[in-house]
Structures are given as C-alpha cells and as structure tokens.
C-alpha cells in the first residue's frame, strides 16, 4: 500500500497528533511536488486493504479484485486533470450548521426487542469469541 509517495498534508496531523511526530512524507506537499496516483493495485495490496476492511478474500480471488479495483482507480484518476488549488473541500451538499438536541433521556429500555435478532447473547450481553487485550 505504500508503493507511491503518500500525500497527506502536515496540517492533518497538527495539532491533534501531538505525540506522533509529523510523518516524513508530510513535507513533500510543502514543496508542491506532484505525484502520480498509483495506477495498479496488486494482490498483496488487496490483502492489506481487505484486512483493514475485515473482509476474508480468498487468495485466488485477490487477482480479480486487484484488476477491478485498479480499473476503478484508473477511472478515478481523471480527477487529477482538474486544478483544485485553493478550492474548499465540500463535505456536504447543504450549507447548514449542526442542530442541537435538548439533553433529555427519551429512549426507554428495549433490550428484549433489540436482542431478539442478535446472533448470540447471554445474560443480556452480546457474545463474541474471546478478545485478547
């Protein structure tokens, strides 16, 4: 997943990630170096992405996904053609501010209803294979 120069800007890490020193690559953008987006993903990259997304992808299907995802990224790469210098990123279609809710408990206990379709419960708890910390 890191075969090309990553380009997350320094600003994304400051000041929040005070204790993670800014990553070395962050400086790239300061010098306005241009990058070419990766044009292909290989099966190894697919495995890494699938792990992050918690998807079990059979080894024999990784190749196929690699081709599909690469084709999609090729389509996406058309964005590079347009200059977006100074454009404010648009996170949302409407220019509204967050509305606030009064602090009142309104939700009654509906555990029985919510757990009726749960795959595995015991003693009111949702059960999963043991988590090791």
């Amino acid at each position: 997943m890191d075969r090309c120069a990553p380009v997350r800007s320094l600003d994304r890490y400051e000041p929040y990630d005070r204790f993670h020193p800014p990553r070395a690559y962050a400086t790239f953008q300061r010098f306005h170096v241009h990058f070419t987006l990766p044009m292909s993903l290989d099966p190894d990259a697919i495995e890494k992405i699938a792990h992050l997304a918690r998807l079990a992808i059979a080894p024999e299907r990784r190749e196929r996904y690699a081709v599909d995802l690469t084709n999609i990224l090729d389509l996406v790469a058309q964005m590079d053609a347009v200059d977006t210098e100074g454009v404010e990123p648009m996170a949302h279609p409407l220019h509204m501010a967050q509305r606030l809710r009064p602090d009142r408990p309104t939700e009654p206990d509906r555990r029985a209803r919510y757990q009726a379709g749960a795959p595995m419960v015991g003693g009111g708890l949702y059960l999963v294979p043991k988590v090791i910390e």
């Binding site: 997943m1 890191d2 990553p6 380009v7 997350r8 800007s9 994304r12 690559y25 953008q29 987006l37 993903l41 990259a45 697919i46 992405i49 699938a50 792990h51 992050l52 997304a53 918690r54 998807l55 079990a56 992808i57 996904y65 599909d68 995802l69 084709n71 999609i72 090729d74 389509l75 996406v76 790469a77 058309q78 964005m79 590079d80 053609a81 347009v82 977006t84 454009v87 404010e88 990123p89 648009m90 996170a91 949302h92 279609p93 409407l94 509204m96 967050q98 509305r99 809710r101 509906r110 919510y114 009726a116 379709g117 749960a118 795959p119 949702y126 999963v128 294979p129 043991k130 988590v131």
Partner: protein, 484 residues
C-alpha cells in the same frame, strides 16, 4: 383499476366504488400472478396489508381522510419497517426484522397509505442494474431479458408493471432516476435533506436521498407531499417549509428558461435516446419555455468523484455489519477476526465488497489527500458549475441515461462500464440538487427518460414541468405488454 391515477383511486375510494381492501387485494393478486416474471418484490405484506386496508376503510367511512388513505404503495427494502423484514437486498440482513420504522414509512402510514411489500434492490443500493441483489436480479417489464436499472429497480419495475400505484426509492447516484428512465416511469430525487434519512439504511450519507417512483408526476406529488419535511432525528434534514406539490402541478411554464448542458449531449449518448430527448425539449418549447445551451464543465468528472466519495462513506457506513449485534454471522468463528472477516465476506456480495475496499483504500493513510480530499474539492467545483448555471436558467434538461435498458449480464463483469451508466445522474447527488426523470418517446420500443434538474428545493417546479409535459403527451401512460 391498476391503470388509474392516485387521484382517481382516491376519488373512487371516497365514493366507495371499491374499498381499500378490494383495491389492496387486487394489487396483491397482481403481484402473486405477475411478479414471478419480474422478481420486483423481496417480501409481500399480505395479511398486514389487508389489515391496514381495513383500517383505511374505517377511516374512509368516518370521512376524515387525506388523498393517500387506503392507497396501496410499496417501499424499497432499504427503509426500515418495524416488525417486518428489512433486507437491503443483502444476505447480511436476510434475517433482519427492523425494530423500528423509518420516518418515511411512518409518515406514509400516518397518511393512510397501505404497504403492499418491500421491493427488490441492488445490495445496499450499490448497483445500476438490480443484478447485485442477494434475491436475484429484477427484470425489466418492457423486455424481460433486460435490466430495470438500479438500485431502485424493484420499485421501478413494480410501478411500470402496475403491481403498485407508486413506490418509494432512494437515489445516491441515480438510483431513482436511472431505473425510472429504463422502466418508463416518473422518478423524483428531491433536494438532499428534503426527506428524512432516519431509518433509511445508509449507503453514502452525504449523497443518499429518498424519493418516489410513480406513473406520473401528479402521483409522485401526492406521495412527496407526505414524505417531505423536517425531521429532528436526522441532523442533515432541512428545516425548510414544504410547499404543496399537488397545488403547483398546473402552474404556467411560459417563459421558463431551460438550459441544455452541452456535456450531456456528447459522445456516448445513444442516437435514439438523443432523438427522443430533443423531441421532448421541442414539446417544452411549444409550451412556451425558452431553451438555451449551457455548460457544466466539471460534470464529466462526476463519476470519478462519486467513486471516491460514495465508497469512502460506504466503507465506514457498512462497518457496523460485523456479525455481533444483528445480521449475518458466519458459522463457527475461530476467533474474533475470523468472525468479522468471514461474516462480512459471506454476508456481502462482490460489488459491495469492491466498494468497501475502494473506500477503505482512498481513506487510508497516505492516500486521503490524493483521493478523498481531492474528490471533495472537485465536488465543490461541480456544485459551483450548477450555481452558475442557475444564474442563467431555471432548470436544466438532458437525458437521464446514455442508453436504454441493456441486457441482463451485459455489464456485470465490468464494474466501470456499469458505473458509466450514471454519468448524467450523479452530478445532482454530488451537488445535492433535486432532479426528476420523466418518460418520453421510447427508442426502439424501450423507455427513455428526460432528466430535469432544478435549483435547491425546487421540487414543485420539477413536478410542475413534468406534469405539464404529461398533460400534452401520453408516453407515461404506456403499459408494458403482459402487464396492461
């Protein structure tokens, strides 16, 4: 009965020409008899539908009723319906009985509408052909070797085949308009925030919007009147007054300025489709509208932008399906990671997994700026194009889709070719604008849709324009053979 408009059905119900129970039974019988050819319903409400029809009949007797009292409708299976299966077209939610109602379901029920059942759809609304559904593809009533479009393909096919008078749908990149166009029905995607998203299973939260598929703009207006409006449970719901859409249907359109974006009439547009669209635009000229060419220079980038933004949001929205609290859980998980990975790999189909992976990738460390942030910036440019356009014109018209319905299986092996089907519809989602698809003259026997995009909260204008066209043409009344 099944060819009547909602206004006619409502009038008949009031006059007791037939009862809501009889009307509901009629539609249930049609579904029973005809849907095996279409696969447009995932589940049919049957007894529950008749029970609500009975309640509607009581209300009709008491006289205190609205236009939708006793009118059967169908919901796309993306809307949560309390106590009733809500699958989102996915194996992941095959067993999921929603413990609550979506706002739209609640509102339409409160207006007296009778839910006939839940319509088929692309899995988690990801698809343009209704072929990614866990419940199998839906076929197009006009030609059952062809796709109905997607993701609201079940709703579009059911309405076209007169299996219900109208149905709800959702539109993230064209999922109402594209199947409406391919099935020859009227489909409106309102402004982002116009209809509540509460209880509507999320695909891409900043793009998803609920709307209606119906046989005419007038029918759609009756439903939208009940659906639109502020919902305190949805932070992105717009607190903007809702006009009476039915009232505005007959407004005069003389002098209205229509813009035709040159980017929507270029290479890739089927010549038959283009001819039908131009004919429809001429009709508007005859109705007194003024036509001019405009440009939306960044709109060709809407597909690339969409395939960053939508997968990114979907990769996060679909992380909740982990086999822990509800939904599919794999058999005998070896450990927690195995539980996650196999439940998700077995519960989701290939297209959903593709999009989750693309979304995961474009948000991951090192790629965020190049993909996600870049896409958000281009999205702004696309929205700016529209803002400038609406300084010159009142509405924008063009084809809804580049071609008519394509054969089943034609594009299932080529995701990118499939994605390009939404080339004309996606920009409205990115900008959050309302848009409608109106059936115009078919091309080689297959339906063609005219897309009209309006400025923010101009749904009344879109319905009015569609209605005026439908007043002087009959394309929207045509029924597919075998479903008359």
């Amino acid at each position: 009965m099944e060819n009547k408009s909602i206004a006619q059905l409502a009038a008949d119900l009031r006059l007791r020409t037939y009862s809501s129970v009889e009307l509901t039974r009629h539609y249930l019988e049609r579904i029973e008899r005809l849907d095996s050819r279409l696969n447009s319903f995932i589940s049919v409400a049957g007894e529950a539908a008749l029970a609500s029809a009975e309640r509607a009949d009581l209300a009709l007797k008491s006289g205190d009723v609205g236009p939708l009292t006793g009118i059967p409708i169908a919901h796309k299976d993306i809307f949560c319906t309390q106590g009733f299966k809500t699958s989102c077209g996915s194996r992941m939610l095959d067993d999921f009985i929603a413990p609550y109602d979506a706002t739209l379901v609640e509102r339409l029920a409160a207006a007296g509408a009778v839910m006939l059942g839940k319509t088929n759809m692309d899995e988690f609304a990801m698809g343009s052909s209704n072929e990614t559904s866990f419940y199998g593809p839906v076929t197009n009533p006009w030609d059952q070797t062809r796709v109905p479009g997607g993701s609201s393909g079940g709703s579009a096919a059911a309405v076209a085949a007169r299996l219900c008078p109208a149905a709800t749908g959702t539109d993230t990149g064209g999922s109402i308009r594209q199947p409406a166009s391919l099935c020859g029905v009227t489909g409106i995607k309102p402004t982002y925030g116009r209809c509540s998203r509460w209880g509507m299973i999320a695909f891409a939260s900043s793009l998803d919007q609920a709307g209606v598929l119906a046989r005419s703009a007038a029918d759609a207006a009756f439903l939208l009147d009940e659906m639109a409006g502020f919902d305190p449970r949805d932070s992105t719901s717009a607190d903007v007054p809702v006009p009476d859409y039915v009232d505005a249907l007959d407004d005069d359109i003389a002098g209205l300025r229509i813009g035709l974006p040159k980017e929507y009439f270029g290479a890739g547009l089927d010549s038959g489709v283009a001819a039908s669209i131009h004919d429809a635009i001429s009709e508007y000229e005859r109705l007194g509208a003024r036509i001019s060419e405009i440009s939306l220079p960044n709109s060709p980038l809407s597909v690339p932008v969409y395939y960053v933004v939508a997968p990114a949001e979907c990769s996060s929205n679909l992380a909740r399906y982990d086999g822990v609290r509800y939904g599919y859980r794999c058999g005998h998980p070896a450990d927690l990671e195995d539980l996650y990975k196999r439940s998700r790999a077995e519960g989701f189909g290939a297209e959903v997994q593709r999009r989750i992976m693309i979304g995961t990738y474009v948000l991951s460390a090192g790629y965020y700026d190049a993909y996600y942030l870049k896409a958000q910036k281009v999205r702004q440019l696309i929205a700016d194009d529209f803002r400038r356009a609406f300084e010159q014109v009142d509405v924008i018209m063009g084809p809804t889709t580049p071609t008519t319905a394509f054969p089943l299986g034609a594009k299932t092996d080529d995701p990118v070719a499939m994605y390009l089907n939404d080339i004309y519809t996606i920009a409205a989602n990115l900008a959050g604008l309302p848009a409608i698809s109106v059936p115009v003259e078919p091309a080689e026997g297959l339906p063609v849709g005219l897309q009209i995009v309006g400025d923010y909260f101009q749904e009344a204008r879109l319905l009015n324009l569609a209605h005026r066209y439908q007043h002087v043409t009959h394309w929207h009344q045509a029924a597919p053979a075998g479903f008359e």
